[in-house]
Symmetry: C2
Subunit: 413 residues, 2 copies
């Protein structure tokens, strides 16, 4: 039998034991994982070094090498992450609804694990441990499909986690790494409906699209963020500047960073905003009106409006009113995070009612679209789809429900 099928079967079996464990039992197992990662630190770093050497030989970019690199400090951050997951409330067993029907049937809907989760991700070894610990905490077994360039690191991390589980209530089989990283095997994995309950791709747009295009297993889409801020005519000067600077420069490489700012043509502080951005090293690409007024604004082309730069570059555009701003967002947005800075409540209402996105902001930075910032403690990803979970996904997003119906002999007439 193939590696994929063997591991999928083990996961399915393990998931049944795991689903019935108590919070304490799961936390005990997670604590063993954290301890083992510390104990085996040297070996993990050695194995990671093999990936780094191979990556350099294969000409990976310095940015990719940096993502791939584990250090003693980064490993301790990963361990801290596991400890953080231990502190999170266990969603499993929560009663989400309860009601009684006129015929006396009592119906209770309770939260239960999804079962087996397939994680598909790129060359970030930290995801291996982050995703595994979140899945286990929510009672799910997990099939990890990472990048071939991180294979030594991932094998080491999964080996250490499995060894830690052998002395814990969670079966060691509950975490499996798919070592065959071929595209053919990935496509088989994406169609493994009898074993996998959901696929969660984490990575760039092409990875996510390849999962969506090839999967028959349901996908939790985590996606691209072409986020906008609309500065209304009434926006306070300093607040608008602070929010834009924060949304663009605090961490430009992430999906909740702003990529286009739409400015009401009568807002009096456009010059101050653009100069502040320019002085903070942000490259500005604007429409004709802005280019002709400000020497440091470059001409934007059509493609700029739909680009997720993930870099200190910002598209800027003047708009006539909130409707034109919404129209632009509707056309180019990716339904991730959209903000309005305004003192006009009516325009805020229109914006909140009309814009279709996971998270809408009034007078706040788009950077808050994040599981920790939302108070979920940790995050498995940010959903940009509409089914099941939308926006930051915490532990609840990797659970489902079942209905328990308590009768006294009721039959249907």
């Amino acid at each position: 039998m193939s590696e994929l099928l063997t591991k999928a079967q083990r996961l399915k079996t393990a998931s049944k034991t795991l689903a019935a464990l108590s919070t304490n039992e799961k936390n005990e197992a997670l604590a063993r994982i954290a301890d083992a990662l510390i104990e085996q630190k040297e070996w993990i770093l050695q194995e990671n070094e093999k990936d780094i050497s191979l990556g350099k030989e294969n000409g990976l970019s310095p940015a990719l090498i940096d993502r791939l690199q584990l250090t003693s400090e980064r490993l301790m951050q990963i361990v801290d992450g596991v400890h953080q997951v231990i502190t999170l409330p266990d969603p499993v067993g929560e009663i989400t609804e309860e009601w009684t029907r006129p015929n006396g049937l009592r119906i209770q809907t309770i939260r239960v694990p999804l079962g087996v989760i397939g994680m598909v991700y790129e060359a970030r070894p930290n995801v291996t441990v982050d995703a595994a610990s979140l899945c286990l905490k929510a009672g799910n077994a997990v099939l990890l499909r990472g990048s071939s360039s991180a294979l030594h690191s991932n094998k080491a991390l999964v080996h250490v986690m499995q060894q830690a589980l052998t002395h814990s209530p969670i079966p060691a089989d509950a975490i499996q790494l798919l070592e065959d990283t071929s595209r053919e095997t990935a496509n088989q994995m994406f169609k493994l409906n009898n074993y996998l309950d959901v696929l969660i791709p984490r990575g760039g747009a092409s990875l996510i699209q390849s999962v969506i295009q090839n999967a028959t297993v349901p996908v939790l889409e985590t996606g691209v963020g072409n986020c906008h801020i609309f500065i209304d005519e009434s926006a306070q000067k300093q607040m608008a500047i602070d929010i834009v600077i924060n949304s663009k420069t605090q961490r430009p490489s992430v999906c909740n960073a702003v990529e286009t700012v739409l400015i009401h043509e009568n807002w009096p502080y456009t010059q101050e905003l653009l100069e502040t951005l320019h002085n903070n090293g942000v490259e500005l690409r604007g429409d004709h009106a802005l280019v002709s007024s400000y020497s440091f604004v470059h001409q934007a082309t059509e493609i700029d409006w739909s680009t997720e730069y993930l870099a200190p570059i910002l598209a800027v555009k003047l708009v006539k009113n909130v409707k034109e701003a919404i129209h632009h967002i509707d056309r180019y947005g990716t339904k991730h995070s959209e903000a309005i800075v305004s003192e006009n409540q009516e325009n805020v209402n229109i914006f909140f009612r009309t814009v279709d996105a996971a998270v809408l902001y009034h007078n706040a930075s788009t950077r808050f679209t994040d599981g920790e910032q939302f108070g979920y403690g940790a995050e498995i990803g940010i959903s940009t789809q509409k089914l099941h979970a939308r926006g930051p996904m915490g532990l609840r997003a990797i659970t489902t429900t079942k209905s328990l119906v308590y009768g006294t002999g009721q039959t249907r007439s």
Copy 2:
């Protein structure tokens, strides 16, 4: 441009208007649809008659002809269904969660329409109106893809509904029928991620599988029900018999009917149960022990355990205990509805904790897995998948949420 793309674009545009309408506006439009269906009754029945004639010419089975047939009475039931949808509470705008973060950000999660829903179904013209009215009530535009054998009926029904909408707050474009019923066009529809937010297949297993296998648009799987009842050693005689008879015979052709009954080998009333079933015209297929004890029980083969009969046939099997029953359900069940009849609370707890299905019953008929029986007023289908919605799906299942974040200038540090 193709019919599919033209209609998909119209739906997307209409969905934006529709999403912003009040409950009263949507109800007014639905009332106009109900009135128009009555006014145009004769013409609808004439058009339906064309499908019936063609169906007979093409040798459709009497059962299929019956499904396809509209009568004055059936049309009035459809109209009653629309009135029922008008009375349902509108899920759109519900605040599902609200909390404040330590930095003062107030986060509100509200229910909003999904957008555009693709319904894929078979030759039941009633689904055309049922699905359309539910989708509209929840603020969604709907693309209807019915069977070619119901094309005249569906065209007439959709024409009448669109005409009714032209004088209402809902844009007439919010309901579209895909008249091209070729498989190629269906497959294009299933991949129309830029226009469709979800696909809901309603029909037999092969229809559902064809959507799952070919779709890149997220699917709400409504599925097959191979439902079980486990009669524990302590089950009350009459209660167990009543529940089994109701679950099997009250309406054998539906997905929540029972297909296999697992009987504890020490339950004292097996003979009475089997004789009652036999006397009610149920064909019994059992394991060796039952076949050798009861002349009217036929030998079951492996395939019986996984068959959804949808007919007055029942598989029966003796088991040693609740664990063996759960093991059988785990192996052959379809995660739809599973019941235990027992007076032993510990066994009920094990059953409820361990069995993985949308709905579990203690001492009640499996036939209650139904939107109306659950109190949802109406149902768009019964989900057998784990993402988004599980079990009977009411109006909430065809909505999503968005998070509204109210700030006072917060930025992330």
